[in-house]
Amino acid sequence: MYPMARGLLVSLYDSRSLVPQPGEFAGLANYYRLLHLPELANALRVTVLYTVGTVLLSLAIGMACALLLQSSFPGRGLARAILTVPWGTPLVASALIWYWMYDPQYGLVDFALRSAGVLHANISWLLSPRWALPAVVLVDVWRIFPFGAVVLLTALSSVDQSMYDSARVDGAGPVTIFARITLPTIRPTVMILLLLFTIWSLKRFDTIWIMTQGGPADRTNVLAVEIYREAFRNFRVGIASAIAALGITLSVVATAVYFMLESRHEPAV
């Protein structure tokens, strides 16, 4: 808590050194400046795109995986073990691996897409304004969809099998069964995953910083990266702290909304 309060204090200073001097007090000027900071609007936009893209893709792929792995077949245990590997891989190692896979000259991604006939020339994924954001999103999806799959798999095993049987007797198709029986039962798990994925994506810094440092042309400049750049590259500590304060406010709102939704559901459970 103390660091947070201290951060709020710093945001009131017009400081270029990390420890503000008394003479640099600037009141709310930094917050006023935020309104006219083009980087901030961009960072918010990128953060939203990054988070929505990552969360939805991970949840969708994770759900598909869980549904497919639900039926037992030889090699299911191995499949589950492999699904543990991506989120057991440290973030920095993931960034190194994908950085090399995205390599514009010798990268595996270009090779695979060209072999499949999708591409005719190599693309510099991380340097292309068009592809950099999807590229970093994919890294995060790779890391967290398996977590979703494993968690959902556990939830699916708790669905009452006899419900499936009676639904099938009544002539329900797979889509109806999923929408009417499966989804309502695992809804709490899906909600928790939604929250966890959102938290993780909003916070993501390491992979983006290592692979693109927010570039090219700020296309991958999420809020977490923007704060770091202001403080430790541009040395505008006051501005950085003001953005951080904004970030804290957004988190407070998000947490409060979640709490309200939770408590509204509680009596029903």
């Binding site: 660091p3 201290r6 951060g7 710093v10 420890v19 792929i61 598909a64 995986c65 792995l69 039926s71 077949f73 499949a79 699904l83 590997v85 991506p86 057991g88 891989t89 440290p90 973030l91 920095v92 190692a93 960034a95 190194l96 691996i97 994908w98 950085y99 090399w100 896979m101 000259q105 010798y106 595996l108 090779f111 072999s115 790779w142 969809f145 977590f147 494993v150 968690v151 798990t189 928790i192 966890l196 938290i199 916070k203 810094f205 390491d206 910083w209 290592i210 809020l223 977490a224 990266v225 704060i227 403080a231 702290s241 951080a244 970030g247 988190s251 998000a254 947490t255 709490f259 939770e262």
Partner: protein
């Protein structure tokens, strides 16, 4: 089951199984490929990496890369630092969260909801929000460039999660057992030490592991608070290779292998506890 397998012989069922297997294989392939590629890249002769099309199998004669990794890079030092910070973070966060979780689980007091709200909130904050203020605090307390500073910062991030892991576990221990202890003249702390903790061993192990790997994984704090190269942890060391093109790619990947291996092994071993821990950390 037997009904299903006899039905599988029918062509339509068979086609369905083929599609199913293909989709599962695609997803699993997507999950496994980057890690496989890390191994393949680590085990290539340097010049073999710069060819098109790329080599797709590891070269079994290139295990020597790990020897070169440890002799040309200070990675031994970095791994040691990571392990020290990891153990420190794990011990400190378990010690703090045992007390916090016990109080949340057993006592009813004003501000309990506010406390849980704050715990969830701290999880939502990006680490970069905390670095400027922490930097200032550490500078004043001379904790910059120390491993202790990293332990403290990492604990601040992970303690909320370990608190929830332990709290959800404590909630499942019946209070009657503890009341019996109190009747026999134990103090609250005695009860905690002699009865509750031994019963909670699995949760404590999970909390310790999560604390260790938070620190093992952590990058922003380590990047910002430690500039002295001999105190670098592995994540910062590995990341420093990108950008300077002086480090050969196969060395880079062998470093990633060494860094990743303990993490993946532990995740496989503790999968169940880690999942329930992380999920419990996300709710309430």
């Amino acid at each position: 089951m037997s009904l299903q397998s006899s039905a599988a012989l029918r062509p339509r069922r068979l086609a369905r199984w083929v599609v199913l297997y293909t989709l599962v294989a695609a997803a699993i392939g997507f999950a496994a490929l980057p890690v496989y590629w890390m191994l393949v890249t680590a085990m290539q002769r340097g010049p073999d990496l710069y060819v098109w099309p790329p080599h797709r199998l590891p070269n079994p004669h290139e295990l020597g890369v790990f020897y070169r990794l440890f002799t040309t890079q200070p990675i031994g030092r970095w791994l040691l630092n990571s392990a020290i910070v990891g153990c420190g973070t794990a011990s400190l966060s378990v010690a703090l969260s045992v007390l916090g979780a016990y109080s949340l689980s057993r006592f009813r007091y004003r501000g309990r909801t506010a406390f849980s709200f704050l715990l969830l909130l701290t999880q939502m904050l990006p680490s970069t929000v905390l670095i400027v203020p922490l930097f200032i605090v550490f500078k004043e307390t001379h904790l910059l460039n120390t491993r202790l500073g990293l332990v403290i910062a990492d604990t601040a991030v992970i303690a909320p999660i370990t608190v929830w892991i332990l709290k959800t576990f404590f909630d499942t221990i019946p209070t009657e057992i503890e009341e019996a202890g109190l009747m026999d003249g134990c103090s609250r702390l005695d009860v905690l030490r002699r009865i509750t903790l031994p019963l909670s061993a699995p949760a404590v192990v999970a909390a310790f592991a999560i604390g260790f790997f938070e620190a093992w994984n952590e990058f922003v704090f380590a990047l910002t608070f430690v500039s002295d190269q001999s105190l670098w942890v592995t994540s910062v060391g590995l990341a420093s290779w990108i950008g300077y093109l002086t480090t050969p790619v196969e060395i880079m990947m062998s470093g990633a292998v060494i860094f990743t291996l303990p993490s993946i092994l532990l995740f496989l071993a503790l999968q169940r506890q880690l999942i329930s821990g992380l999920v419990a950390g996300g709710i309430r």
